[in-house]
């Protein structure tokens, strides 16, 4: 498709507006993270640090366990993302490609499980975990997070698989491929953008969770980054510069993962395959 100069100018301006909109709160976070404790709460507020200091970052770095919290978060979020993407892609394929008894009911059930808020579920879930001796473990936390991400993952992936023409799998199966092979070799490459979207979704959900991590993890060394940051917000002292510094670092990690993944957000080969 041909686009004129005016079109590109419009896209460029719109993208910059979007970038400014998205980055404004980050500007405030980063600016605050370099202020002193007094300046960050002073009135009238300063937009840029008057006395530039990296104390907040030094404190975060020196604080026992913060590096550990980041690693824990990566482990829990990564585990959740992998588990729900793997289980999810099979279920989504099944829902998309087969018409079987109870299909609609099952699809609806997936969503229904998400309609009760976590506040109610966390208590009984804790009881279950303590029966099988899994409380205060990252596995217990990953399973809990997966129970939230999985239904969303299945629904999203089913949507993407629906867009892949059935003829592709059929062609492969006529060539002698099994169901599993056709999923792995034909469908999989075509839904990569969707897989990226769902993986990022699961990762970020587990990354930002507070309630489950708070209730299921008691050993300080096992706690996650989000819990660690909210622990800087006490009734007695709120360390704004530290919170901002920790959040900036905390956002950088998923953003980096996404940067690695975003190249798969490209058109699959579906179009070409249909033609062929």
């Amino acid at each position: 498709m041909q686009h004129g100069k005016g079109f590109w100018l419009f896209v460029a301006i719109a993208l910059f507006v979007m970038a400014i909109y998205n980055l404004m709160p980050f500007f405030w976070m980063i600016s605050s993270s370099f202020k002193t404790d007094i300046e960050v709460t002073s009135y009238p507020a300063t937009l840029l640090p008057q006395a530039f200091t990296t104390d907040a970052y030094a404190r975060i770095w020196a604080q026992e366990g913060f590096v550990l919290y980041f690693l824990n978060s990566i482990k829990v979020s990564g585990g959740t993302a992998i588990l729900s993407a793997t289980v999810g892609v099979f279920a989504a394929y099944g829902f998309s490609r087969f018409r079987f008894q109870g299909r609609t009911a099952l699809m609806a059930t997936l969503l229904v499980t998400q309609m009760l808020p976590g506040v109610l579920l966390v208590g009984p879930y804790f009881k279950m975990l303590s029966l099988v001796d899994l409380y205060d473990t990252h596995l217990g936390l990953i399973l809990a997070q997966t129970s939230i991400t999985l239904p969303f993952t299945v629904w999203m992936l089913k949507g993407y698989i629906d867009t892949i023409p059935v003829e592709i799998d059929q062609a492969a199966m006529i060539d002698g491929a099994t169901r599993l092979q056709s999923l792995v070799h034909c469908v999989f490459p075509n839904i990569l953008p969707g897989l990226v979207a769902t993986t990022v979704f699961s990762f970020l959900l587990a990354w930002g969770d507070l309630l489950w991590a708070l209730c299921l993890i008691t050993t300080p060394e096992k706690q996650t980054m989000t819990l660690g940051i909210t622990n800087l917000v006490g009734q007695f002292r709120v360390l704004w510069s530290d919170i901002m510094a920790a959040t900036v670092i905390g956002c950088a990690i998923p953003a980096f993962f996404y940067l690695l993944l975003q190249r798969y957000l490209i058109t699959g080969v579906a179009g070409a395959a249909v033609k062929g």
Binding site: S130, Y135, C215, T219
Partner: protein, 429 residues
């Protein structure tokens, strides 16, 4: 000579003692670990004092290791109740007075009376009766009080002098005049603020209502007392004061920390606080020189009359989880943390008064402290908030209605009437 009854009692005590000491012996042979959770562990100063104390405890009790679990105050009940309901949770933990009755009535904490009596029949004699009240139900004591303090008016002497005020107000009328003089909006200075956010509302705002001679509930805690003339006077005083512009904007979001921050930055001259406010505010802004500029006075009262009680009490007590597998070792820790020596350390480190009469009345530094002497006097004029399981819900309904009046969503009369009705509904009247 023993009477029969006394003999039985003595034998019972001896058996208990033996079992307790045997328990400790088997325990020390096995090398057990107990967990201790306390919101004060999550904060630097308090946390350090507690960790020092626990290290001493471990040295004295070679078989026992104590694992500490810091938790934020706002997240404490979320974590504790989830774990305890599932049969887990820390062996020993600290609570303030608010949720205590809920924990006791749900059976989540052990009755400590047998442990205490086996150790020393006069164990609880040194504690204030006021301090034992929240942790005692039907004669059974479920927690050992550690710190008890009363709320007062914390003010900045330098700002008072600059505004030409020599003495803190004794009546709320005088307080309003001072507030007027202390407010200079163009310089970013206001007189005071109120904690209207949930975190810290419980201790601070209710003190004002108490100092008007008002109560939240009737004496037997069975019905709302929000329709009394005292409460109406206090309620409209508070709303008028906030709307008169002597508090900084944003009062509905101010929590305990926010109020201290405003005081530390010199943006306000007075706030409701107590002994712990001094070290907290001083650390927030070392330039303020809080230990020398800040003072504590009793709260003003309505018309400057003698009203008692006229302030709210805070208390921290230590409890044992009913799910614990190591009650004896847990008791040893509870006992250790609430001993005289530890409480003296709490005052040295954190400016916090003890729940033991002997410490407050005979420990030198407490006697000499200008802060401690005021607050310890005020304990006698303080009262705990109603100790019933419905209280958290009543307090929150009151707080939300107060906010509605402050933001002008409702008139003060309407808001108080609504709070009255809601309270009675919660109490099933």
């Amino acid at each position: 000579m023993f009477t029969r009854k006394n003999k039985n009692l003595a034998m019972g005590a001896a058996v208990l003692m033996a079992s307790v000491s045997m328990g400790v012996q088997t325990v020390s042979a096995e090398d057990i670990t107990i967990t201790y959770s306390d919101w004060q562990l999550a904060q630097e100063g308090w946390g350090n004092s507690l960790r020092t104390a626990i290290a001493e405890f471990e040295e004295l009790n070679p078989g026992i290791t104590v694992a500490t679990e810091p938790v934020q105050l706002g997240q404490r009940d979320v974590r504790f109740t989830t774990a305890i309901r599932a049969g887990q949770g820390p062996d020993v933990f600290a609570l303030d007075a608010n949720p205590v009755r809920q924990y006791i009535s749900a059976g989540w904490v052990l009755d400590l009376t047998p442990f205490a009596e086996a150790q020393d029949p006069a164990f609880f004699d040194d504690f204030y009766e006021t301090s034992l009240a929240p942790v005692t139900v039907d004669g059974a004591v479920y927690g050992v009080p550690m710190n008890t303090v009363a709320m007062g008016l914390v003010y900045n002497q330098a700002m008072f002098e600059a505004a030409g005020i020599t003495e803190p107000a004794t009546s709320w009328e005088e307080f309003s005049a001072h507030a007027e003089a202390l407010t200079d909006t163009s310089a970013g200075q206001w007189a005071t603020t109120l904690v209207l956010a949930p975190a810290g509302f419980d201790l601070r705002a209710p003190s004002i209502f108490h100092s008007f001679g008002a109560s939240f509930l009737t004496e037997d805690w069975s019905a709302s007392a929000l329709d009394t003339p005292e409460m109406q006077a206090a309620f409209s005083y508070v709303v008028d004061m906030i709307q008169s512009g002597v508090v900084p904007p944003g009062v509905t979001q101010v929590d305990a920390n926010g109020a201290r921050r405003l005081l530390a930055n010199g943006q306000i001259a007075m706030t409701i606080g107590t002994t712990w406010t001094i070290p907290e505010v001083s650390t927030m802004n070392p330039d303020l020189d809080g230990w020398n500029t800040l003072r504590i006075a009793p709260l003003p009262t309505d018309g400057g009359q003698e009203i008692s009680p006229h302030t709210t009490l805070y208390q921290k007590s230590i409890f044992i989880n009913a799910n614990t597998e190591h009650p004896e070792a847990s008791w040893a820790l509870v006992d250790f943390l609430t001993q005289r020596a530890q409480m003296e350390r709490w005052f040295d480190d954190n400016n916090m008064l003890s729940s033991r009469r002997s410490v407050n009345e005979s420990y030198g530094p407490i006697q000499e402290s200008p802060f401690a002497s005021v607050v310890s006097e005020e304990i006698q004029h303080g009262t705990f908030l109603p100790l019933i399981p419905e209280w958290p819900r009543i307090l929150d309904s009151f707080r939300q209605n107060l906010q509605d009046a402050v933001t002008g969503t409702k008139t003060a009369e309407q808001a108080l009437a609504d709070a009255h009705a809601e309270t009675n509904e919660i109490l099933g009247n």
